[in-house]
Symmetry: C2
Subunit: 240 residues, 2 copies
């Protein structure tokens, strides 16, 4: 199967979780919007698929994964589709439901980290909601960041393996690597302060980063840089 990923070409964003799975799983895929516009790429490629009036099953938002005639929407849903096909999730049904629950918990975590800099509206600039963002950031760091990280650290400890689901790498590990990498970029001081409490998460981050396919991908131009246009943003005043 040749996969087509449709996601905004200028940020890692939610698409990055899919890219990491496709890379680790050595999938045959095209990151369509990264192609030039005159080759059918760019942001218009995403808009065309989103707004296709002939589609009887319209999706709400990217990322979208096209697999033949099927279009799967929503990051966690795409990963659950790809997991078994790319050998990135165990076979046992119970573990697949557990894995998906973990991915959805990460989805909430990432959204809460995003809402730190956009607590009022996505349609406004950060600068237009900075007062509210500063207030929200204090609660995020002391209540939510700690709660989510402690939870995932517990998951790793309880599982007793090198990876989240045991001995073998799964898409959950790739996603957790991306969550940790994004948090280390956006909240370096807070993460340094938490570091001793989440040794297993930090080790997992390093193990995933060193996996050959992931290391090669991260060192390539395909890996976009972190930025203040992305889901998680480094504004020093929100981290301090």
């Amino acid at each position: 199967m040749k996969y087509e990923l449709y996601y905004w070409p200028h940020i890692q964003g939610r698409g990055e979780y899919v890219r990491l799975a496709l890379e680790e799983g050595e999938a045959d895929y095209v990151d369509v919007a990264r192609l030039p516009e005159n080759e059918g790429g760019g942001r218009p490629a995403v808009a065309r698929l989103l707004q296709d009036a002939a589609n009887k099953h319209p999706p709400f938002a990217p990322p979208l994964l096209k697999a033949g005639k099927l279009v799967v929407s929503y990051t966690a849903n795409i990963l659950q589709y790809l997991g078994p096909r790319l050998g990135l999730v165990p076979k046992a049904e119970g573990l697949r439901f557990y894995a998906h629950g973990l991915q959805l918990t990460m989805t909430d975590f990432v959204r809460e980290a995003h809402d730190v800099h956009h607590p009022i509206a996505n349609s406004l600039y950060y600068e237009d909601q900075k007062v509210e963002a500063l207030r929200r950031s204090r609660h995020f760091k002391s209540e939510r960041l700690t709660k989510f990280l402690n939870y995932f650290e517990t998951v790793l400890a309880r599982g007793g393996g090198k990876y989240m689901l045991g001995k073998s790498v799964s898409y959950i590990d790739l996603s957790l690597f991306q969550v940790m990498a994004s948090l280390n970029y956006a909240f370096p001081k807070s993460m340094a302060g938490m570091s001793e409490k989440v040794p297993r998460l930090n080790t997992l981050h390093d193990i995933v980063a060193a996996r050959p396919h992931i290391a090669k991908y991260i060192a390539s131009p395909a890996r976009l840089p972190f930025s203040t246009h992305d889901l998680m943003r480094h504004y020093p005043e929100l981290d301090g």
Copy 2:
């Protein structure tokens, strides 16, 4: 299979989406926390399952569904587990991924509607973030409420059937009924203003409400009332 639902006993909340599926599907289930504490129920029952230190696959938050030894967490994940077992989703794999994408989009919608009254922190009272809530509510009503409702109206129109996925009822219809009912409670003025633009959604709400198992459930004491302790809350100043 006898199911056990673990969710806070005093609100509809996210557990209500699971309750509706269990009711429509005539499942054999216990809403464990609704039992008296001296019969193993109440909030401590939820806390015990959440904090069970012997569980190698710890969940993050309720609702949780126990099915034999399996514990499934996260509302949309539970519904995807129950769907095939209760005959509440079509057999085709593509439609199941589509259904799950729709459920996850509703999850985001509900979260955004919740964050209207809690834009800064869940740990604070509404009264302590009222200024920010008022500001957020204006953007929610004019940008997000309209966007999500128009999307689901389009899904219904494109599908061409009575229900979201065609001719037969699915868990998606039950969830959309709950979303509409909650919005009608929390934002009556805004919803009245939108009414002409979403005729299909309003009809779907009424069709689901009139289904025998759902109608019976809603008329029973098992259906908790809407309230300002729930995910969606009616504060007139946020609706006006």
